[in-house]
Amino acid sequence: MSRYDRRSFLTLAGAAGLSSLVGGCASGPEGRGPRVLVVGGGFGGATAAHYLRRFDPNLRVTLIERQSSVLTCPFSNLVVAGLRDLEQNRFGFDGLRAQGIEVIQADVTAIDPAARQVWLGESSRLDYDRLVLAPGIDIAWDKLPGYDSAAAEQVPHAWKAGPQTLLLRRQLEALDDGGLVVLTIPANPYRCPPGPYERASLIAHYLKTHKPRSKLLLLDGKDSFSKQGLFLEGWQALYPGLIEWVPAGKDGKVARIDAATRTVETEFGTRHHAAVLNVIPPQTAGTLAIKTGLTDASGWVPVMPRTFQSVKAPEIYVIGDATIATPQPKSGFTANAQAKVAAAALVASLRGLEPPDPLWMNTCYSLLAPDWAITVAGVYRVIDGKLAEVPGSGGVSPKAAPATFRALEATYASSWYANITQDVWG
């Protein structure tokens, strides 16, 4: 046990029984051990709270989330395409409460790493021995000219599930048959690398079914993308002639948005006028990570590979989409895997022990149609001090597989969604 850890342990033992909520009132979490706060109740944060209690039932674990329930981004593209109700993607926190985790609905206004305190609103503070921060992403509103939060009310991003998802859905429903849909896709990195292409697929499914004269134009800030061969193969089979993908090298990079006229201007001055325009904008780590000083010049959070402790504030473990964890993708599956590794490392640190050897996995399912899915899988370890894919593992679904294989992966996609959401929210 390091001196620092021992001190915090003793301080905590001395303070046992005192409520650590300053200026507020709460019954507090179950347990008598160190106080761990988890900020953010999405895939990463909720998994961390769950597994901290599994790894050490004595920990007092408090999860702080702005909303009373969360809507998942995975499976939200089905909502956009009219194939699923948004409410089917909603998860509350009663499952975590049943495990003795305290869940507080509040807005975290600041984190003070030196004092090891989290501020709720302007007057309440919570002390912590360790903090897990899972702030997700925020839209980088200053990066794409013409696209700000007001513009997003007319031209949705729908890259955070909720009202934006429904706005895009309604616009597609109101589209005249024959109207052009334009989807803009940012350069890397962003949340869910194959997500834009799944969205394109499912919008195409809706158009083919309901607006067969319409077309979908994809303007991309990149020249290649996740599972590209499998997406292009699937689009050819399912939606021939419906989707046009314009890579960065062929003037796909977006320079400006005019929300009032739903016009996209590209890097080289081409103007595309859309009947429905969906802008997936550039992103950063969640604002709280930036305000706390945990991000670097890239706008994302550097972490220690073995434990996902913040490089800048080691008592804070940062997980999920906010982190720089290449080659791990920004996905809900990855956030869940990172949360388990961080929770085990955090418990080890409180006991003054070395963290266990970490292992992460990821599988990203993408639906091209309700009965057609493809996957990319990865296994990751720390190799030579860096996060790396395990050689010989991972990869994508086979090309030219029969329709039965694509349908099998679609069945597994639904099963995966049901099971991971249970693993995360209980």
């Binding site: 597994y51 599994r54 790894f55 599956f333 869940n336 895997a337 388990k340 590794v341 085990a344 490392a345 418990v347 080890a348 006991r351 022990l353 070395e354 963290p355 266990p356 050897d357 970490p358 292992l359 992460w360 996995m361 599988t363 996957t375 899988a377 990865g378 296994v379 990751y380 370890r381 395990v390 010989g392 593992s393 991972g394 990869g395 679904s397 294989f405 099998l408 992966e409 069945t411 597994y412 639904s414 099963s415 995966w416 049901a418 099971n419 991971i420 249970q422 693993d423 209980g426």
Partner: protein, 98 residues
């Protein structure tokens, strides 16, 4: 705790005197719940794995790794990232669950 003791006996995990923190949940088994449900107990198109014989689980994982399972999807790609020892740990962990 029961699982912990069973597992410690089965795979010889360091418990309290080791230099690394050991839970009853090996890192290689923690990720399984993502698809197979909490403690691998969720029965569905993706099957439950809790409580099945360790030898059966280990041999199935090795068959995945060797591409010997018909109609396999992601499992061969994932298991290729596990060591032989981890395959045995995963099998022991899930078989010890009742």
């Amino acid at each position: 705790m029961r699982h912990f003791i069973i597992l410690a006996a089965l795979v010889g995990l360091a418990v309290s005197s080791g230099s690394a923190f050991a839970t009853d949940l090996p890192a290689a088994a923690a990720v399984c719940a993502n698809c197979h449900g909490i403690e691998g107990r969720r029965e569905g198109p993706i099957p439950a794995i809790a409580g099945k014989p360790a030898l059966l689980l280990a041999s199935k994982l090795r068959d995945f790794k060797a591409n010997k399972v018909a109609n396999a999807t992601v499992m061969p790609r994932l298991v290729k990232g596990l060591t032989e020892a981890e395959i045995d740990q995963v099998a022991a962990y899930f078989s010890a669950l009742r």
